[in-house]
Amino acid sequence: MPRLSLWKDGKHTNDYKFFDRRISEMFTISGTGILIHKYLGPLSQTGTDNVTLPENTTQSELNIQDLLFLENRDRKYEENVYKMRGIYQVTDNAFDLTQFGLFLQTGTLFVVFHINDMIQTLGRKIMNGDVLELQHLIDYETLDSSLPAALKRFFVVTDCTRAAEGYSPTWWPHLWRCKINPLVDSQEYKDILTKITVSEDDITPIKEILSNYARYIDINDAIVEQAETDWPESGYDTSGIFVRSKDSTTPNYTINAYLAGEGLAPNGLPATSGTSFPANPVEGEYCLRLDYLPNRLFRYDGKRWTKIEDSVRTNITNGASTNLTQRNSFINNTRTYTNVRGNVEKEKQNLNDVLKIKPDVQ
């Protein structure tokens, strides 16, 4: 009689298969339904001339988007969703209040999957970056009853190893243990969050109901609106201050304050504007010259046009169209010029690209 041995020189024996079927059956019986968004690799980023940023025209999980920073930022996910069963230990969670809102303090879960079922379903093992949807954690009762759908619960896989408890007496592993963390609304998962709609009838991307991005943008906008009310433009507002006329017509000065020039006539008096002075001015008349940068307000004193002030106040909100700060003139510069070959070029160029040879326009 041969000596009893469950290990057969690296072969998957019938003992192994017996154990494996029983374990798979256990997942069918007691596992919870998990939908898997399979990671396919980074989205192709064509048009770069940087060898550390390969174009990756062939889709593969093996591709790396950024060879310098070693990260895949724009990930592509399978449009089909794979259904599997997984088992994990439900734990109590507590929210951690951070500077970025509430985070689940114990949000990390460890889910185990049956390896062979996983291979059969997915075609590979679950890997870092795969996104899981735990169906039983869907939230039908949120605080916002106006939401068009219940909130699904997504996790992203951050670690995968064989589970210690998944080894059978044959010494072969049967379970795949995945460390999963709650998903965040980030660039990496945009492909999922913007492709899945809340329902068949409602094409609203689930990002809009799952993410608090829109709420934070609204909050941000409200703060900026109030800030612009308190301080609409750089410098000081002297428009409410009366400037006394020292002669018989109109004031020939304005309030002398730091960055107070707005190009407006004192006391709200009328002023013309243009790129030249009026033909037949009368004494005391104001004119804002738009061909001066900054625009300059003049007053006619009967003999000549004298400078009153420069319009130097400007909105300082980043990116605002009325922002005329020096920095804004460099950053938000949409101006162009025509070079000697007749090509229209953008004024705004990165310093490292300025003198690079450029192809002629066909």
Binding site: F69, D139, P182, L210
Partner: protein, 477 residues
Amino acid sequence: MSSYFYSGQVRRFLQQFIRLFSNFEVELGKNREGIRTLLRVPIYYGDGSKQVASILTRNSENNLPTVPAMSVYIASLKYDRSRIQEPQHVSKMQIRERAYDPETGMYTEYQGDLLTIERLMPVPYIMTLKLDIWTSNTDQKLQLFEQIGPLFNPSLEIQSTDSYVDWTSLSIVELTDYIFTSRTVPIGTEDPIDVATYTFDIPIWLSAPAKVKKMGVIQSIIASVYDSQGTIDHEQDTFDISASILATKRIYTPIDLNVFYLGNTLKLYVGNNQVTFEDGEPPAMQQGNWRVAIQSFGELASVPSGVNLLVNGISRVYLKNEDFTVVGTVSYHPTDDSLLLFNALFDTLPVNTLQPVNGIIDPLNTTVTNLMASPLTGTRFLILNPIGDLLNDDGNPATIDGPLLWNRTGQPELIANANDIIEYDGTKWVVAFDSAATTTVQYITNLTTNIQYKWKNQEWTKSVEGRYGVGAWSFVP
């Protein structure tokens, strides 16, 4: 009595700080359609309450936090001993507000309140803010770093308000530190979120409320209607102003304006600071505009009644010289804004000390009238040149040595000096006012023109007409 005040000074700086870091974007890579997109990065306060945080997650564990994101919070607020200045110092500034039209909600082109604002020395603090930037990858972080970095070299100006009188509103945001990542390398088994942290110092000032008082001392002198004992000034009482009105009246004395009183008008001139009354024609001065000048003292509004409507209760003008004060009601001239119609109150005019004269004549060059040739008893003339000469008078009344018009046969010769007043006493002309012998101030009216003249300093001048310089005339609204 309440000691409470709060104006949200730190709050306003925080709002501006958040504004400073608003609207930054990161570029996302190409999507399935090959399109790159820009994603705006929200910024919000990082030390909110847990209750609001749960509301933002809709009270659900399934909510997805958004990344990239920025949050700001106060790391410290410390008193800045190095910027201390005289703590008891009170700064005063005078402001003329433009009048506000409540119907349009806009400022008008006229003057509103005259205010004096007193500001107590504010207290210096250094506010340290932390700006945390959560990114999901290094590329995002560097995109934001490259956009934010050039802003601070090393600081950026910031204001909490654009109020002209708020001397605490201007400050700077100075970058003092930057921590590239909150994670340690190697990362290990955990996968914490990656946070970059900027540290900024903002020197701010905490200010107590200002005192705002309605005054107008810069361009005008306001005289109280009460004397030092708290009783009504009797000088003004004589101007037929009731005590009840006096209690609410102020007198404004413009500083850089002159008026020239002539006839029934007051002409406005600009720019001469002479403070005394001056007879005669005005010098070469620039004409002023009464409407502009009066706007400097209050809002425009019609007086409720009266033939001559005037602005905003500007009911009287005082004309002062060293001997008297003339008060008159004023109204706009219908066609000339450099003029005010001036109706002098009779009781305020100087009282004649001499009988009126029928005319003023130059005996060397005058047209003989019946009043001169056949005068009635009491006929009086003020003469501008002498009549007769003692050297030519032989002392014999039977012969007339002087001008026949002024002498009668058998009567003594008329010997009168320039500026004398001669009077016909029924039989002859006599000197009624000896200018050489009179040194006291005298007033007299010319019946031909109804102009009153004053004898002073050995010369005749118009008693009230003339130029009133700064300090010599006032408004009584």
